[in-house]
Symmetry: D2
Subunit: 429 residues, 4 copies
Amino acid sequence: MKEVKSIEEVKLLQNFVAVRGQTEDLARPLTTEDYVIQSMPDVSPTKWHLAHTTWFFETFLLQKYLPGYKPHHEMYAYLFNSYYETVGDRWARSNRGLLSRPTVKDVFSYRSYVDDHLRVLIEKDGNRQENTFCFLVELGIHHEQQHQELLVTDIKHVLSINPMHPAYTSAMRHPKADPVPARFVEFGGGLHEIGFSGVDFSFDNERPQHQVWLEGFCLQNRLVTNADYLEFIKDGGYSDFRHWLSDGWALIQQENWKHPLYWENKDGEWHEMTLTGFRPLEPSEPVCHVSYYEADAYAKWAGKRLPTEAEWEVAASTVETRIADGNFLESGNFHPAANDVAGRPLSQIFGDVWEWTQSAYLPYPGFRPEPGAVGEYNGKFMINQMVLRGGSCATPRSHIRKTYRNFFQCDKRWQFMGIRLACEKNHSS
Amino acid sequence: MKEVKSIEEVKLLQNFVAVRGQTEDLARPLTTEDYVIQSMPDVSPTKWHLAHTTWFFETFLLQKYLPGYKPHHEMYAYLFNSYYETVGDRWARSNRGLLSRPTVKDVFSYRSYVDDHLRVLIEKDGNRQENTFCFLVELGIHHEQQHQELLVTDIKHVLSINPMHPAYTSAMRHPKADPVPARFVEFGGGLHEIGFSGVDFSFDNERPQHQVWLEGFCLQNRLVTNADYLEFIKDGGYSDFRHWLSDGWALIQQENWKHPLYWENKDGEWHEMTLTGFRPLEPSEPVCHVSYYEADAYAKWAGKRLPTEAEWEVAASTVETRIADGNFLESGNFHPAANDVAGRPLSQIFGDVWEWTQSAYLPYPGFRPEPGAVGEYNGKFMINQMVLRGGSCATPRSHIRKTYRNFFQCDKRWQFMGIRLACEKNHSS
Amino acid sequence: MKEVKSIEEVKLLQNFVAVRGQTEDLARPLTTEDYVIQSMPDVSPTKWHLAHTTWFFETFLLQKYLPGYKPHHEMYAYLFNSYYETVGDRWARSNRGLLSRPTVKDVFSYRSYVDDHLRVLIEKDGNRQENTFCFLVELGIHHEQQHQELLVTDIKHVLSINPMHPAYTSAMRHPKADPVPARFVEFGGGLHEIGFSGVDFSFDNERPQHQVWLEGFCLQNRLVTNADYLEFIKDGGYSDFRHWLSDGWALIQQENWKHPLYWENKDGEWHEMTLTGFRPLEPSEPVCHVSYYEADAYAKWAGKRLPTEAEWEVAASTVETRIADGNFLESGNFHPAANDVAGRPLSQIFGDVWEWTQSAYLPYPGFRPEPGAVGEYNGKFMINQMVLRGGSCATPRSHIRKTYRNFFQCDKRWQFMGIRLACEKNHSS
Amino acid sequence: MKEVKSIEEVKLLQNFVAVRGQTEDLARPLTTEDYVIQSMPDVSPTKWHLAHTTWFFETFLLQKYLPGYKPHHEMYAYLFNSYYETVGDRWARSNRGLLSRPTVKDVFSYRSYVDDHLRVLIEKDGNRQENTFCFLVELGIHHEQQHQELLVTDIKHVLSINPMHPAYTSAMRHPKADPVPARFVEFGGGLHEIGFSGVDFSFDNERPQHQVWLEGFCLQNRLVTNADYLEFIKDGGYSDFRHWLSDGWALIQQENWKHPLYWENKDGEWHEMTLTGFRPLEPSEPVCHVSYYEADAYAKWAGKRLPTEAEWEVAASTVETRIADGNFLESGNFHPAANDVAGRPLSQIFGDVWEWTQSAYLPYPGFRPEPGAVGEYNGKFMINQMVLRGGSCATPRSHIRKTYRNFFQCDKRWQFMGIRLACEKNHSS
């Protein structure tokens, strides 16, 4: 006879079911053909995201905790491993778009198969007290949420390169607002604690909590807007080397970058490809799809700088900032929105766009990766990348925290990435 | 009132309908996902073949001859032009696999739309006597047939790179036979005529008919088989530079080629990926999917050489060779078959595999390209390629002629390409 | 009548003359042919170093401060500008080895011409009180010293790729010693000051001095030796992904790295190309020519980590470390030497090899680049590089400071780069 | 006692000494630095040419015929083998410019050493009757002459990429003349013999002599001039795809070619880099440094075509053409010269520029390579190249014949390559 489940178990199962369902909801608007395309090496086909997140549960939970579990297909471990060297060989990342099989239908069958087994496994009483088990399910859920964001940003790229400009969703969501005037908010220096220390889920790269010494600093109250960024462009920002890091200057010459990704100047009017279609650029919206080089050049042009990740986290801890109010995946905008909430010290801290910081993605003092294969999750990428904070309009709301560290190379811009300015205390004018 | 149609018109229409239908029949076994993939730059997605052949009829016939014709979609001319500079800009060839839209369904609608209009156009009496019109329809039909062959060879590549080894068709056609013993057949030297001179359809590159002087020569009575080629491999053929042209030797080092494309040595046994699945290599079948470099190296190793295209054509004209008996697309084998017909001077001249000749693809003396945009069809490719003759198991039977000149770069091998040996008259032993 | 010169002026002039002479002394052992070669894009020909440092004085001093100065050759500004966008166009870095003219003799004439004019300029009383002038001369001198180090490391690469193994100098300097036993030295945590604050010369990237919070930490008393590193190799260090950052693992696969640069296993014995020739690897010497990836992987394999640059600087400030004792360029070893000084808390802090830190090369809080064109010197490179500290056997002794920040990308290893281990306080066993 | 030498022996020795000396004379105007540079992968450093031709004599003669011969340096066989797989490993072609040692002086010592030994060897009576020996010496001499031409064309490239525009020789040779009016000369069709059949030296690729059938054809009486070619440029020749082969069109887009190599439009005036320096383009001189693609496009634009190699050879055999009158290496012009000899049916057939033919470089019917390692000389390159005829202003006069087949890929243009037009008999107007 089945025992009554503990509240944690029930919540874990509910969470699992909800997140897995949300992924499939996100894929629903697509045609079968859309699932297959890899429009650049950074992008993975939707089909692959659906299968890879499933493989994660199969590999790290079902194979380990469900006695007698038979994998859905012997080849899927090879096809859908992303980068786990511990787990064995894998299909090359750059070739993910070359596979017509398994079909989309096959992948949905794979999801059902694994979901059914995992549901059974979570409900089994034997794993109730097992901390590692629960941690791995939670990790799998957060992993799936990360791929929900990637699914959205990847499909945006897939649709954007198509000269027919197909929209992901025809719903014309496009909340208009006048942004609040920009000003700089001061924060005191001194010894601060950053990093995660609670009992809830966090990634290893957010830990351990530790002390940092900061001088007093200022953050701008809102994100840099398209209107702001257009000033930089009009002022010749892309053709004046003095604003640019050397690598960035070389890159924009080579790639002939003159504006953020997805912008297009059509008959003298700036337009933008969005997930709701091709439309005129809205000046009040936060600028997004800029690389670190562009964010840094903009800040230098403005006589300011980007915040460090410690400054960002201290600021987010100091003032009241409600994650619940943010423009996240669940808002269904699939685009950053103009800020219209006056009277807040800092707005748009969570959601809308990931905010580039000037901090390199490196281990915190005393960092220890998770044991086992999932230790490959974060630590091995701690080089040649910069930290971004705060989540975006493609991030699931329950996925973000103020200690959350996202990271990308300086040249990447297909994520919803934007800019918040910072400066020293006496440079905020 | 509709007039009675001439016999030519009826035949043209029948032909058009039959060939267009045959293309769609060839695509039928595929999943939607299969239509989208471009597995290497040389390969085009099935979807693209279906649309490009349609664009050919739309551009060169409907737009020119059907007053008031409205293109099915304004963007398709850009997306489905292959290489006609005359006709305008086009989507880059190497990016054909990056487009999820138009969908497969959209492309079939495009085909119906164009077919319906073209049917009307062919039936219209105004074009009855117009030679150019009939020529262009015929050209479109032959063009479609060329893409039927490419569709088959491209989808073979798409399926072959998939580690799941999906089969195009499960029907296990695999006719077995003992090949006839190899021997050399002699042909006399002297002045010969080659090239096309009749009134039926031919490509401009087959004309004009002209005289060539040949010394006496010998051709082998049958194609080189897998068993023959295995001798070359076993004898270290791929590691002895003396057999190889310099460019070929560099290529096989760089690409680490050790055997024909689609071969795989699994636990000491040679296997081959075919359109009917992955299966043990059949020694009696003609070797195929070899590059010019491999064909030439094999011939040198064997103490022989490849034929010139003039020798091949003279031989094909001299002895009785029936196209009707060949192993073509319509046979449904989708693979070259072992030769079992004894008593013929030359067998397998038509069908099975394209035969590499040692002739560069250059204009015949007095060559004149077709006037207008279709003049880009053949002439501008007359450099850096070698001529192949005779058609393959993926060629539609009604498409081939003894004067037909196919051409590929020396490193290509994803077509059904094979080897027939030649030698001087006193070297046939 | 010439006035008596101030002591500062005399010292500046002496310094200038000495450093310029030292550069030419370093080039003396070379054949004319050696001056011309660029053996990889990172390397510059010796000829170029001799000319570029001269161009620096011509451009930033003679052209600005010597009225009526006529450049030695109108084309040299184009040929010998390295990366100063402010100053105009320049010959591509990767093509520096394609220029036979100006000849070596021409370049020495260029040096004489500029030296003569600069000597006059320094002696002129008008510039006596001018701070910017003196700063620029000093900057030019330090810049020349940096290129002395690059000249040595570049010519090492040029000679090393030559299968004839030519030696830069035949003098067989090769001091032997038993390294002191390794142990970890503890340093206390708390608020520390790092960065430069004095009145002597420093680069802008060392400033401003600022506070950092450190937890207590340990540094190893000596550098990692070849013997130490061989243990890592023997333990399969280059084939176990668990030690490696993801980018590093990809790199060593792609480049097939199995050992530090310039090592060669000849008949089972490790050898090393040095500036004094090809010779058996000396186990007691510090390992050098390792990339950041290798340094980091070695540290992880050893259960330790690399120091941060703040830790390194705090340690170098805490214990007595005498720059004067270090193995620098002037020692004439042109190679790191085994450590034989017992009884010191930390040895080899200065000289021998640059020590990789785990700190990204980023601006210090409140960083301000120098004004004008020389502001391009450091700031624009503050991305995608890691900091190295302490100088090497190719660094001029008077060039180094404890606050000195060197920086290279993670994959570079042609400089004399080595490893010192660090760990948390409770992990030093 | 030394016997009296036969006349053949005397001539062979004289020839050997003369040609070896001529090579060194050609190198004399260069600075040491010029000897080292490899300005692109096709180019070899002068130093390498001097050593490689020496290696040829050492390897194929001294090592084989001189008992007890000790190679000058054990490493030179590795460094100076060009492409002879038979003879063993070799230094990569693209890296020839990375070697500072052996020095120029070392290479001249190598030449003396080998010359001294070879002189002894030729004088030894034992080899007097040995045909292979004499053939190999002759082959070595012709090989050295080929490298004389390459030395000149390679050093032209080395000097040309230098923005200082150094001249190879300051002597301002620049014979002016009004070219004779262009007209087409008719030649009759029928069976002709081409290829070499005599007893003097020839390369294997010129043999065997064989019959070809030609229709009647016309050749233009003189080479296409710069003035002629400027008409093509002015008429938009480089921007009209209709003139171009598909590969050529892609190439000129990618490389942004708008004119022949070494041309430069400076302030609206066409200039040209020559071996006697940078100077205004002379309209009356033959156009040179054009690729096959440009030659073919020019011919198509002019409504004509390039000759086949058979047509060229038949024409050269039919009319009187005196090699002795040609503008060859010995003229000391190092540049093609305007044609001023009226009254000749065909002028400039020999010397000035190599004439592109529309014939692919393929084996003649019955071709047999030389036996042994020297069989790699020609045969293995018979693919993907086109034949050029007639020699150039950089070819030694005694090196050329009417049957001589030179060959290059279609994109090459750093040789002195130019254009002579041909057409069918009824298209000469």
